[in-house]
Amino acid sequence: MIRLLATVFLLLAALPARAETIAIVNARLLTMGPQGEIERGTVVVRDGRIAAVGANVAIPTGARVIDGNGGILTPGFIQADSTLGTVEVSQVPASADRATHHDSISAAFDISLGLNPDSILLPVARLAGITRAVVTPLYDDRGNRRLLFAGQAAVIDLGQRPDMVTRPRVAMVLEMGESGAERGGGARGAEIAALRALIDDVRHFARNLALYDRGAGRPQTLSRTDLEALIPVVEGRMPLIVRVDRAADIREAIAFARAERLRIILDGAAEGWRVADEISRAGIPVILDPMSNLPHSFAELGATMENAARLHTAGVTIILKTGSGVAHRARELRYGAGNAVAYGLPYEAALAAITINPARTFGVAERIGSIEPGKDADLVLWTGDPFEPLSQPRAILVRGVEQPLSARPLDLRDRYRSMN
């Protein structure tokens, strides 16, 4: 029995991911695209892309047909602010590539390099409907390392292909607020002063590259590679993910971004609802954990389960994450979205917050985030409401390739069930 299982698994894993033509029929389509919700429809997948979507779409000959049985079909979910692909066991340093403690690499740290497509965490997250993730670096503050930037984020896919990077260097990560202040010299004001100086340095560097190449130019506190990495940020081409919670800190971040003409994305924003109108006016998207309602620090005294709903009502583009970026807990994303709905967020908005919103915010909406012809076929067929724990995925496609509904924990389960 065990041998049989093992064989099947090995075969499955060994098979080259083949993009066949598939038609998913008889499903309720939550497209998150212009077609909205289709009560009973068909999606055709060809060459890894979505070829057709609609209520009356013909099934191509030769297509493998998956009967949705009236279940729900959603775009694959996108876990924003995650470390998937960079960690196996959090407390085992050798298995974690989420952060660097190099003393002259901070902004230049590029998390898209050195990802692990064989990570056993990917199937676990995928079983929760997650097909893509925004992987963001963390800080490693060992010793006296106090560099302000964590590095650059990337969008990856969870299809366990060797080339798992959907798009590298989609954003720069910066912590402000309490921990940023700690890194910036123990006080928020110091961090802001230091940031302004750094940005001025980068601009000067960008304008005077020739000068620097002659070994001249203003003395710089950042390494050359960090300076180069920051040029797209100061030029507004790369967004800055600013991790911040306190209402006053959010205001500071907005003012800072306005003054320095930076594009920012707020991450955390536990007290975001208190300054929702200002965030909305500034057109800044917010990544937040809908389960965060505890005053973990003085920066989060106003944390509430209603943060997502209130920000959405104010017109803010929200993106949901769970487990505060802990990769092992990525699978709780759909439960987090459900809880946000239970606390007032419209269902559509919750689904958008884990599909099309992160796709748009990180510049990959032309490929993923909704069920539209031409987009990558990242699709999940559910037995019921995807936010309900009692629902399970029945089929998962990443780039048109159907993924095995297995993962290491399920293998363990089956092994011991048969033994006991």
Binding site: M291, P295, H296, F298, E332, L390, M419, N420
Partner: protein, 469 residues
């Protein structure tokens, strides 16, 4: 009340140095000065149920915690107790009627593993970390209740999620972390006002990586799994000897009494069966060793906590009658939790064991019903046919059993404490929220009434409180 008076009287005797052994048998030694002999209850509960009225919750789907599901059920509460539960019971005169149509009723949720109050919010503040007395591998002499801050806002958020009882345990940095305490989740000024009357104490014991990392990292024992076990055994030998010396002094009635030792007193309480062992242990092989250690010294393990590999030895744990308190979603953050599976509770349940979903976390404690739902869903995915009426025991009746309080709470049976949650929907749904919560028949939460929110003094006058939760 009567109990409280009796305890006060006992206190009076102690104050007079009259000793707390009121009847001196002829051969018994002379009474000792206050504090020289173990006092049965030196920090007595002063919990008093809040005011309650006669209530009838009518028309709800009732999960009783005994394994039954009653459609269109009626639950009658009187004098702080469950009076009756059944389908379509008549409502006697004088009962306030609560319409439960379309809603669900369960026993109050019990968290078997929490650090609320001893690692309080804001938990980023070092002064609020009172969870681990990380100074010796054996700190059996400390009691978690002496770290509890009743103003932790985490108590409120847990109550709003249906948590009526919770066990607070010291952390897992030490082999013997100290005594646990079981609390009623009521707003209170002192911890005594929260202590569950008559609940037995627990002893936190920790296996595995944590103790060996803490002390091995300081170049001290334990530094390995084998060092852990040597540490346990050394302590149990001391405790057995301590018990023997007290017994022999009491029997002989002469000579010097043994010097009282708080650490050994707690361990001896375990050997005497009065204190329950609550054992943090992840791996199956380590659990098997702990069961042998228990046999060697003649005590019982009440519960393995976390126990992510319990599914590997589910029949053994069922046979040994040891509960398993675990999560569904947590895994992988260290080696010993690498093999966690979502079906752990369901497989323990299927083997006839006592499965519990616990939190160990101030956020998860607010979603224990959802954590149980994920476990149930995984179980069903694996083909285990478990119904919701059974699964609700994972967060009600079974933790009550693990805590030694199942005589009075954990199920909706006549005569039990009226700890009740009225849910807006099936509690295994992500959208279900606790609408109302009663503890001993007293209303402690009503989602529509802002008067029930924001108990904690800490949040008074702080930013953002105007719209909490």
């Amino acid at each position: 009340m009567r109990r409280a008076a009796a305890l006060l009287f006992l206190g009076a005797l102690v104050g007079c140095a009259a000793g707390e052994r009121p009847v001196a048998a002829p051969s018994a030694p002379a009474p000792l000065r206050a504090g020289l002999d173990a006092s049965p209850d030196p920090y007595p509960s002063t919990y008093r149920p809040g005011p309650s009225q006669r209530l009838a919750i009518v028309g709800a789907t009732v999960l009783t915690g005994t394994g039954a599901e009653i459609a269109n059920g009626t639950v009658l509460l009187a004098d702080g107790r469950i009076e009756a539960v059944g389908a379509g019971l008549p409502v006697p005169d004088g009962y306030q009627r609560i319409d439960g149509a379309g809603r669900w009723v369960t026993p109050g949720v019990i968290d078997a593993h929490s650090h609320v109050g001893i690692w309080s919010q804001p938990d980023s503040v070092e002064a609020h970390n009172d969870v681990n007395e990380l100074t010796e591998p054996n700190t059996a002499e400390v009691w978690a209740e002496h770290s509890v801050w009743p103003q932790d806002p985490g108590f409120d958020t847990a109550r709003e999620a249906g948590i009526t009882t919770l066990q607070i345990l010291p952390g897992s940095g030490n082999l013997f972390g100290g005594r646990t305490v079981t609390l009623r989740n009521v707003p209170a000024m002192s911890v005594q006002e929260m202590k569950f009357p008559g609940a037995p104490y627990g002893l936190k014991v920790a296996c595995g990586e944590n103790p060996k990392r803490v002390y091995g990292g300081r170049g001290r024992s334990p530094a390995s799994g084998m060092g852990n076990v040597a540490g346990y055994r050394r302590a149990w030998i001391d405790a057995a000897d301590y018990r023997r010396r007290w017994d022999s002094w009491r029997a002989s009635g002469t000579g010097d009494p043994p010097r009282r030792d708080l650490e050994l007193e707690t361990l001896a309480g375990v050997l005497g069966g009065e204190i329950l062992v609550q054992n943090h242990c992840y791996r199956a092989d380590e659990m098997a060793i702990m069961i042998d250690v228990a046999r060697e010294f003649g005590f019982r393990i009440r519960t393995f906590h976390h126990a992510n590999e319990a599914y590997k030895i589910a029949p053994l744990l069922a046979r040994e009658d040891i509960c398993v308190a675990t999560w569904t979603n947590w895994w992988g953050y260290k080696m010993e939790v690498f093999d966690a599976i979502e079906e752990n509770a369901a497989l323990v349940h299927e083997a006839g064991g006592c499965a519990i979903i616990h939190s160990d976390d101030p956020t998860v404690i607010q979603h224990l019903n959802q954590e149980a739902a994920a476990a149930l869903s995984a179980g069903r995915r694996a083909g285990l046919d478990i119904d919701e009426a059974e699964a609700i025991r994972w967060i009600t009746a079974n933790p009550a059993r693990a805590l030694g309080i199942s005589e009075t709470t954990g199920t909706l049976e006549p005569g039990k404490r009226a700890d009740v949650v009225l849910w807006s929907a099936n509690p295994f749904s992500i959208y279900a929220r606790a609408e109302r919560v009663w503890i001993d028949g007293a209303s402690v939460f009503d989602r529509r009434d802002p008067g029930y929110r924001r108990h904690s003094d800490f949040l008074v006058g702080q930013p953002g409180q105007e719209l909490r939760p």
